[in-house]
Amino acid sequence: MTADTSYTDQEFELVGTRPVRPDGIDKVTGRARYGADASAPGQLVGAILRSPHAHAKIKKIDTSKAEKLAGVKAVITSADLPDLTHGNRASFDILENCMARDRALYDGHAVAAVAAIDQVTARRALSLIKVVYKKLPHVTDVDEAMQDSAPIVQPHIRTPGGDPDKPTNISQISTFGHGDVEAGFAKAEVIVEESFKTEQTHQGYIEPHACLATLGPDGQGELWVTTQGHYTFRNICAELLGLEVANLKVTSSEIGGGFGGKTHVWMEPVALALSRKANRPVKLVMSREEVFRASGPTSSTSVDVKLGATADGRIVAATATLRYQGGAFPGIWGMLGAMTSFACYDLENVKSIGYDVLVNRPKVAAYRAPSAPMAAFGVESTMNLLAEKIGMDPVELRILNAATEGTKASYGPPYGPIGIGATLEAVQKHPHMRARLGKNQGRGMACGFWFNFGGQTCCDLNIGVDGTVNLTVGTVDVGGSRASLSLIAAEELGIPYEKVRVTIGDTASLGHNDTTEGSRGTFSSGMATIFAARNAIEELKVRAAQTWEIDAKHVDWQNGQAVARGIEHSNLGPLTLEELARKSPTTGGPIAGHNEVVADGAGVSFASHICDVEVDPETGSTKVLRYTVVQDAGKAIHPDYVEGQFQGGAAQGIGWALNEEYIYGKDGRLQNPGFLDYRIPVCSDLPFIDTKILEIPNPNHPYGIRGVGETSIVPPLAAIANAVSNAVGVRMKHIPMSPPRILKAIKEQQAGESQVSAG
């Protein structure tokens, strides 16, 4: 169903208020059911055997002893997940990641799995599976993987435009930009150039991957799973297992965080294959160690940035070379880094080149504005170097060069109305920028951009006989979207917020919905909800007209009731939604609205962040003292959850900037697969994160909504690096800025200074 999605500057009663979220009580009382909270009669416990090697040939797997163990109901290897992908390499990559075939490609790669009557038996069965490996040379660093002599991760990969006979780890080279950068640099009065590195981080969702899978010999199955996109999971699982999509019903559980990491299948096809072999339900829950080793973290990167400007601060040329590792499979992460790197600025001559590189690490997944934070770290750090070199205020420099409506984005299209300038001006005026700094303290700021996404969306709105409303959507609620969608439905229908209950429908109850990614939940399901509600209102008007025995054309919907228009109907009192609902059994049956839409026109979102830190110069320890997020939301439907998204992105960015990193040993094995040594921030590590919502309406949404979930993680790496560099007087170029890295940088600076003074 198509409808006009243009922004209309509607006046709101409910949208923009802050009612209590509908899923709150369930979550604080423990009633909410997450991935591991489902059970089925006769269910078995699944467990996965994982490679202890970074790269190895699998010569032989002997499962006979495990199969003979009492209580073991199924043992599977790649032979039980045959290749049904018909040459679709992307699908085959997913299959191979779920279960290694002839080679283990990273530490933690699944090689076999069991289903048994209990966990003890399942674990013992794993220990009875004998795998003969032949270790192969491995590579885990992105720069090393690009060298000619590097061990090859996937022999079929070729560098695009390179030697067609030579295997390589570079799967894609993506170039964006316009103008003539050489000519631009030739004109530049000032040039700055710097290189940066970031280490690999994990989304760190608190809920591990978990599912309950049932698949019978009749090819009918069900999957209960923690996911950001149960329709996508259904389609992929059906393809990999040779099922018809209608025969696999996937239900999304309540989700304990995803941030992109639950947009991909990791072990769900394995659970289904185990269930098919055992002909019993199988519950499979990852341990935290498995989550770190075998789900999808974000890329580690290496980035070079060069900026040329006039002496008064106008950037005349900008280039970036960005190298992103995608784990053991080809990714799009370098491409996204190249697309986002210069998106904040209006540049005449700009070029960015992204390399997608394979290494022996787990397959990289999306992590909140995937790839943009690392690119922004490089670019926004270099912006500050440029500001220092020409002696200009860093905010002024950014305002001078900011993209505006009509600017041709560095990744191609022209911008519509956008908020980068407005966020920068808000930063400039913010009291945070004028607060005094003490000893060992520093301040930094940085900007960030994310595209946002719309996509396929489908929803139902059913009006109950008492006038309450069930809204069923297909986008998993990862950040409070049920509250926002309730507000939207209530706003359109003219009824109280509390009268709407939102459910996330399973795959059998709605048409396809794309995954909740690209900050699309409230944007796209919000759009579908508006149209579904308006669709229901049309039917309500018909019922009212029928009751009054007048033409439906003469009925208006105002403030939750049908009103007969015109002086000739002035004797007809209004009919409320509840009255019409109660009469519905005798006026034509249930009243419902429906909408399906491809929600195009997701508005881009920009943010600017300010950060104050204090660094202990004797230990390199950093404390974040104050943090402010300014971001364009288009329209904040439920401001609490918009602010929550702003704060959440900043909090994750603070962890990433200061302490989080995958640490690999020389043996290519992950050394810190747990929350003790993979340090996400605890409450006491964070200040209260202040927020400011700007509302520059998205012209392509009736309410002006832009996605807000992701942009907030883009500026922190750079904002904090700029603040730390300001505090210690040394430019920090390697993320995370852990205490040993900061202390080393301070010591090197001091050694350099004493050499200079000695010389």
Partner: protein, 290 residues
């Protein structure tokens, strides 16, 4: 974890007897904050667990002749609630109270922390600096040894089969004495020391240091005492020159490893910084003026 035999004796002697005659792997259970984690992660698979929390002698904090005796089953949170103990040994208490989170504090014990034998154990440098002793009950009777003689290396102790630590004894506390403990962690809490320092001082007239003990954690296979750092303190009033010598002595004593938690360089440097800072705190607590 197939089948675990669980016993909860009511005397330390009985606990010792159970441990002595145990076949297979046997572990003592106090708070369980290390033991249960290791069992759940599959690192160990005990045949016997002997819970010591029903033994009255392990459950109390007593003061006899000015000496504190802290039972092996006393949770660390209880140390911070004991005003007399906090006044006499602020460094020992702050070290014990840094372990884990609030939830962990309700279960974890200093003796468990000691016997887990991690070089990074938070309470141990403070206990070593405090001249604490471990009271051991074994098949051959009771013996008391300095805390620093308990741990022999990462994960290993000098305790013989059947030996059970019943309590920790702290010496009598004189006037103008105080201790302090500091650790470095990348986060603000819920973390493990990258390096740490415990300092215990007794002052004489005019703030001159009469006695000093300096112990470092996580910079060697076991917690180490640094006599050279103590020598730099004794006979002096605390000033920047003395503190620089303390830090230098500590740096020399460090023999750390490079690992995921820190580099050799970082641990060595920061151990000196922490010793300097802990000495300053202990000095001020003891009534010294800077």
């Amino acid at each position: 974890m197939t089948q675990v035999n669980y016993k909860a004796p009511t005397t330390t002697k009985e606990a010792s007897r159970l441990m002595a005659k145990a076949k297979g792997s046997a572990f003592l259970l106090a708070g369980g904050t290390d033991l249960l984690v290791r069992m759940k992660s599959g690192l160990i698979d005990p045949d016997l667990i002997v819970d010591i929390k029903r033994i009255p002698a392990t459950q109390s904090i007593k003061k006899n002749d000015g000496k504190y005796v802290i039972g092996a089953g006393v949770p660390c949170v209880a140390l911070g609630k004991n005003k007399g103990l906090v006044k006499a040994w602020p460094g020992v208490v702050e070290a014990a109270n840094l372990i884990g989170s609030d939830q962990i504090q309700g279960r974890c014990t200093m003796v468990g922390n000691l016997c887990n034998a991690s070089p990074a154990a938070d309470s141990v440098p403070a206990l070593v600096a405090a001249r604490a002793k471990a009271v051991i009950v074994g098949p051959k009777g009771r013996r008391t040894i300095p805390v620093e003689k308990v741990v022999t290396g990462p994960g290993t102790t000098s305790l013989k089969k059947g030996e059970v630590i019943e309590s920790i004894k702290l010496p009598e506390r004189g006037a103008r004495s105080a201790d302090a403990y500091l650790r470095f962690i990348p986060r603000t809490e819920m973390d493990i020391a990258v390096c740490s320092a415990g300092v215990n001082l007794t002052l004489g007239a005019k703030g001159i240091i009469k006695q000093a003990r300096v112990a470092l954690g996580a910079v060697a296979p076991t917690v180490i005492l640094v006599p050279a750092a103590a020598r730099a303190l004794v006979g002096k009033q605390l000033d920047d020159a003395v503190l620089a010598k303390v830090a230098a002595a500590c740096e020399i004593a460090c023999a750390p490893i490079d690992d995921k938690r820190g580099t050799v360089e970082f641990r060595t440097e920061v151990a000196g910084v922490l010793a300097r800072r802990a000495a300053t705190i202990a000095y001020q607590r003891a009534g010294g003026k800077l």
